[in-house]
Amino acid sequence: MAKRISVVVSQGPSKNPVKRKLEEDIVAGLLFENGIDVTVVPNLYDIKADGTGMLALKSINGNMIVCSWLFERAAHWVMDRNDISGHVGKVLLENDDDEEDEDQPEEDADESETKATVVSKREIPNRKIYCLDFKASTRADDFIKEVKRIQQENLVQVVSLGDVVGGGLVSNSAQQRFESPTNDTAITKDGTGIEPATVNRIENSEGRRWYPVIDYSRCTNCMECIDFCLFGVYGVDRIDTILVEQPDNCRKGCPACSRVCPENAIMFPQHKTPAIAGSAEGNASMKIDLSQLFGAPAEGKTADEIAAMERDEQLLAAGRDAVGMQGLERRHAVATADEPKDDLDQLLDQLDDFE
């Protein structure tokens, strides 16, 4: 059976001409390939749950490749919150700095054994989602090559099944008809039976949004975020799992809750700091950050203090009273108790160092 693969190109929200060109070059290049269905949608993060773009994505049942300007992790979990789920497909085209992850597979395995994450209790649909980050390369060819590699990887499974089932049992006349097809529905010469690519474009009619995205492979349901956010963004579902219930309550630009999550499971995909936007750890931005020259406050605060400051800014802007470190003091009290440092402290220290 011919297997087509769906490629989604999620356009960036800015009018950056270089970014647009990369997206269009990739779409154009993919149209030359067989067996690929291309769907162009607006920025994944900004599409509303009931938006045309999201409906188009939900209609894709099999494996799919999603290219966007979001980090892989961010793209994966933005789709997951819209019920577009699947196993993480292995992508070989990565941001240069992501390679640092390769050295730490042992550590990650240990940590996931000690804390049960939300995703471990879920059933994931049996299909793969490959998330490609447009930031990984400036060359359209690199992306087209990676799409073809993934397509091959998926095709190989189909072909080998065919070999086992019907290989070697084709009659001579059938073989002749295969080699000299007599009508339009015939299998193409490369033997895969796949027709040319199609493209479906969904235009951008969305405004820009701002809301947290939970990485459920890290989330342990500790409820710190619900306790911290005073704008009602978080809630729980019927089985008491945390979810982002009122995304549009989130105060635009505020990343405070991501700083208090002990597992670093909260992402704000459009935030300028890669760690908050969902990058693999160790990723550095390609552009110079001029914030220190353009008025950024002096450095040297802990993550919790920065979070409290940001939260107060939002409370005041909304006409409410500032609360300072309220709700966070007990975390500090627990931390400074006469106990040996545990993973939580170390993680917060690491976060402080990183920032």
């Binding site: 929200p13 701002w210 630009g253 300028k272 552009k287 950050d289 001029l290 220190q292 353009f294």
Partner: protein, 149 residues
């Protein structure tokens, strides 16, 4: 100090430590924009994003938005405390006015009810030029430091 680049700093307005200018408008509001120094550092502006909605109160040093350009990116902060009245909507579709006409059509936002503190006193052109000499070290460090990472 800025190498070959000849920068223009009109005397009909004030300047701030975060490299923005401010000018009282006939309507009574104070208009803010980027100085030539800021624009030189940014080069071609691609995208401007405000993190808050007008009108609202803001404090000096508050992060109010972000900017992305060909070579750089940055958070944007308010130079003063007061009431943010409106943003320059023309920039949202096409921020290139910042490069082309930074002191006029490329204005960023307007405020009123400004409160002054020692930290947020606006500078005149002379004062700003002196500041530029003083921050050159920091500017070089910021840029070179990141390039070496």
């Amino acid at each position: 100090m800025m190498g070959e680049f000849e920068a223009v700093f009109p005397v009909d307005r004030n300047y701030h430590r975060n490299h923005m200018w401010s000018q009282r408008q006939s309507s009574g509001t104070e208009r803010f924009g980027f100085s030539a120094y800021a624009v030189r550092l940014l080069q071609d502006v691609y995208f401007l994003d405000w993190a808050i909605d007008a009108p609202c109160n803001i404090t000096a040093g508050q992060e109010i938005g972000a900017i992305e350009s060909k070579k750089a990116e940055s958070s944007l902060y308010s130079a003063m405390s007061g009431s943010l009245v409106q943003f320059n909507e023309n920039l949202m579709e096409d921020p290139s006015a910042i490069n082309v006409d930074k002191y006029d059509a490329g204005w960023l936002f307007e405020m009123d009810d400004l409160s002054l503190t020692d930290d947020t006193q606006p500078l005149d052109v002379e004062g700003y030029l002196q500041l530029l000499v003083g921050v050159w070290e920091k500017t070089q460090r910021t840029i070179k430091g990141q390039m070496n990472e």
